[in-house]
Amino acid sequence: MTELDRVFRKEHGRAVAVLVRLLGDIELAEEAVQDAWAVAAEQWPRTGPPPSPAGWIITTARNRAIDRHRRESRRAELHGERERLRPPTPEPPLEEGAMRDDELRLIFTCCHPALSTEAQVALTLRLLGGLTTPEIARAFLVPEATMAQRLARAKAKIRAATIPYRVPDADELPDRLGAVLAVVYLVFNEGHTASEGDALVRAELCSEAIRLGRLLAELMPDEPEVLGLLALMLLTDARRGARSGGELVPLAEQDRGLWDRALIEEGQALVRRCLRLGRPGPLQLQAAINAVHSDAPDTAGTDWRQIGALYDQLLALQPSPIVALNRAVALAELEGPGAALASLDGLALEGHHRLHVVRADLLRRLGRRDEAAAALRLAIAGAANRVERAYLERRLEAL
């Protein structure tokens, strides 16, 4: 990555956010910022980057927008057309607090509930992450034209329906923040779990999700779920080295020496910080469960009592069958596979392959081999992911 690429990743979202406020239009802001990066690509290799790259990009983009506005209003005057642009405000306030507010506004506009989740994800990656349309298309395995259309439609809706550029009020913040966190976590999971597609683009998604998570934590340091999400992503990403290599390696079989200790420590510190705020939420609890796993030398040395208690809390907050399924895994360690198996009865998860994976393992531990094999076959039939299917087939052979 060149110096310019690094600055681009870091500052692009902020520059777009400020320009959207100055110009009142996303498309025009993108054009202006793109112009500015083109100038930077031409000038910086000769002059070196300026002392404040973000400030330079924003000022240059604004000047470009003013030039464009002059040209267009002259043309509009000649042709008697209505002006497309409103004149940019004279001096962009580049004060730190104002820029942060703009970034927050842009995040909440990209993740507005009146846009489809797919559109929210695409807009967030495009505007805040600076990913190109082809990059986003490759990451989500859709044709480039489809992704281009998705982005264009979303921007057209923002303009036509006047989706506001503002931070939600305190009373609507929990709902609206939930949508933002869901988008970032979806980007992370897309990069983390899927095995198809371009591996490099996928790694890029994980690091972009973490970058967005860090940005949110910086912008909203008192929102515990924001910290919880960042911690959850860091603790999950810390295990990347132990689970890659084209094969699925479950937690119990991972070489824990390959875990990234620096990421774990950062994640655990965040877990402690958000728990101190005393407003537990689903993301914080999931992060806390991962933090307990990160502390353990192996499965036997894991504090299952604490994990079980955290799952009980999570289930109370979020009574979903998936949470109940994960809780059963902890229950097997605490009260044995029989109790865990009984807890799965009546879960509305028929047809979900994870249920069969967990059941197969519990049945195997109870010595009920035929039933375990039948459950594994159901799991294999239901698994969409090639790598996971291969892993389950090996398990079936080993029974």
Binding site: H112, A114, A160, A161, T162, I163, P164, R166, P168
Partner: protein, 108 residues
Amino acid sequence: MTRYLLSVYQPYGEGPPPENLEQIMADTRAVDEEMKAAGVWVFAGGLHPPDTASVVRDDLVTDGPFIEAKEHLGGFTVIDAPDLDAALEWARRTSRATTLPIEVRPFQ
């Protein structure tokens, strides 16, 4: 200001029982009054059922609604609001009053 159309969609067939209907009418009128007091109200109206509709194309007149569907447009309100969030809030109140889904669309 953006002008929005709030469309009320209702299922075909019988409406709510009379005792509920009275409440719904009262609540809907109350939201209308709130809109007028807030200065956002432009126009509103309820429609007769779709089997009272006629379709005209050029010189040809035919009976019936243009689109046959399980739900139909039962009425609408036109409002002027500063942005979509404000329009959605009025739609939320209208939906609660009518107990029906509301589609929000901006005018050109």
